[in-house]
């Protein structure tokens, strides 16, 4: 075993440094693409094409004083953002960027990723709870609402892929990917896309962070490093979920001519674009409407999708 290579993968690419870059890139891309849909320019003055605007903003946030609410649980308040970031970064370790470029690969990749993602809302609830403030508390409770409505379609759609390919391992799933697999899993793809928007609190399902209603949800009381870690965890969550979508439904690193990781990033950009376009065009829905939507439409559809895949597989 080449320890140097493993260390490089963990710390540089596709590990920690790359993930930090991903946060920068997601932030920048979101601003630029949404600005384009608004008919604006977006970041422009700092650095070429405004690339350094995000860097400037992040360093500005880092300089902020860490303010802890008088009544807040100090230890938990400080620990929760780090835990959230760590959990999302763990999921990122399973993503295969090419046949060999991954940090961890086990026979149970998919299940572990989904389990880690499902335990995230509990962390965010904690973030709201330990803030001992009203708006974060409501935001925390709303995260649980997202959990009830989003995670089940996510699991059902994700596992239907494993059902079709007969494996939980990401690399194997990508290797077995072909046109028939893509077509069979098309319904699952749509369900998964909607579910990742719910799980990652993206508009129109950004109910726990609804600015016009509850300020910034569980992030309200956080400043400085804590805020950056929590917000970074949210951005990483989008990346991780987009990466899972690409791996499960769009053939991951597969593609002609270009190296695997380039194809991977191109496909992720497509998913990003879709998420940002939805953000720029769709108003937020209410939380009772979300539950109605998921339990009346999304979950039955996901179950039918599983039945459909079983039938096709039996044929």
């Amino acid at each position: 075993m080449d320890w140097g290579w493993i260390l490089f993968k963990t710390l540089v690419f596709p590990g920690l440094t790359f993930l930090l870059l991903v946060i920068f890139a997601t932030f920048y891309l979101e601003r630029k693409l949404v600005a384009d849909m608004h008919g604006r320019t977006g970041p422009y003055y700092v650095g070429p094409y405004g690339l350094l605007q995000t860097v400037a903003d992040i360093f500005k946030i880092l300089q902020k004083e860490v303010i802890i609410h008088r009544e807040a649980d100090k230890l938990l308040f400080l620990v929760v953002p780090a835990v959230a970031f760590f959990m999302v970064a763990l999921v990122a370790a399973f993503i295969p960027y090419s046949e060999t470029l991954w940090i961890v690969s086990t026979p149970y990749d998919l299940v572990i990723s989904l389990a880690l993602l499902t335990s995230l809302p509990a962390i965010f609830l904690f973030a709201g709870w330990v803030s001992k403030s009203k708006y974060p508390f409501i935001g925390g409770i709303r995260v649980i609402n997202q959990l009830i409505s989003g995670e089940i379609p996510l699991w059902l759609a994700g596992l239907s892929v494993a059902l079709w390919y007969g494996t939980f391992n990401y690399v194997e799933i990508v290797q077995k990917f072909d046109l028939i697999g893509f077509l069979v899993n098309l319904v699952g793809f749509v369900i998964f896309l909607v579910a990742i928007l719910i799980v990652a609190d993206r508009p129109p399902f950004d109910i726990p962070e609804a600015e016009q209603e509850i300020v910034y949800g569980f992030l309200t009381e956080y400043t400085g490093v804590g805020y950056l870690l929590l917000a970074g965890a949210k951005f990483l969550e989008i990346f991780v979920l987009a990466a899972m979508t690409v791996t499960l439904f769009l053939g991951g690193f597969k593609g002609p001519f270009l190296p695997g990781w380039v194809w991977f990033l191109i496909k992720i950009f497509t998913v990003y674009y879709l998420a940002f376009a939805i953000r720029a065009s769709t108003p937020r829905i209410r939380l009772d409407q979300l539950i109605k939507f998921t339990w009346n439409i999304l979950v039955p559809l996901a179950l039918l999708n599983i039945v459909f895949i079983l039938v096709i597989k039996a044929l």
Binding site: R40, Y135, I138, P203, Q212, E213, S281, P283, L287
Partner: protein
Amino acid sequence: MYKGAQIITEPIGKEGDLMVLNWGVQHPASGPMRIKVWLDGETIVKVENDPGYVTRNMEKMLEYRTWENAVVNVERICFIDDLGTILNWALAIEKLAEVEVPKNVEYFRVILAEVGRIVSHLIGVGGMFGALGVATPMMWVLSLREFYLDFLEHYSGYRISTAAIVPGGVRFEPTKEDMELLKKAIKETEKRWPEYKEVFKDNPTLVERYKGVGIIPKELVYKLGLRGPVARASGVAYDYRKTYPYSSYEDFNFNVVVKEEGDAYARFLVVLEEIEESVKIIKQAMEGMPEGDKWKVRVPKKIKAGETFSAVEWARGGIEYFVVSDGGTEPYRVKISAPSFMNIWALEYIAPGHKLADLATIFASLYICHGDLDR
């Protein structure tokens, strides 16, 4: 939901039963006012308005301004549509001084007032989307608003707070370039409007969030004296431009937009469709502009003692001034009755029973301007 015209006055629940949420003063959607919300989970039990954080004592200040100088105070009642408030001031002073302005001035004032209405309504439409966390419509309407602001800037030198109308006339003679800019703005509006309407009006998520929310029945409109788009969305066809025409509004052919539903979506539609009517009025006024080169008539420095009442239909509803003169160079007393301050009290009646998420949409649909809420 609205259960009879009654506010809950007795104390509700034991201590600790309900969460009391201060929705404002520092809140992204509240503006500079506090709304005290009693919450049972996510359901609103009771709402209490608490405006007054940016009070400027407008009425008292007016007593220390000369008749003409007061224009710059009056226009700051709400900067978004400043032209309606100055128009009302000019009309009040002219009534008091018994001055008649020429027809061409009246027509040009109508143009200015309607430009103000369009500018305000565009922001209103964007703001109602903004309450749902999507900024795209706001950016679109702001880019359209720029064309009107260009016209105002070229005419008066300022984009907002223009002081374009003065007692006795308008500040400057409108030039050919001014009218060209206005024509350009109208043309751009008509070009973009079908697309805007398609995107805004039939937006399924917006309809889902706004329809059936915050219903104001007709009785409540009469009880609280609600005005403007809020009243018209509840089926009360009250518009000063039609009921008590001023400044030659009787010459123009336009409809008063009235909806029967009374919900937030109806209020949104009223604001949206009034923009079309305003465009119609501006086009008629530009075509039928009477000949005349006198753009300002003399108003005496001292106005003889007396009192007068004047009202115009402003963007947010009817705005009314009661002005008293004691024969001096400044008003003896001014009383302003503005629509936002009337409309905000409907919130206490219609918000209970809704979810917390609906508070933002109901509040946005009441179409409040904080400047005129806390004069």
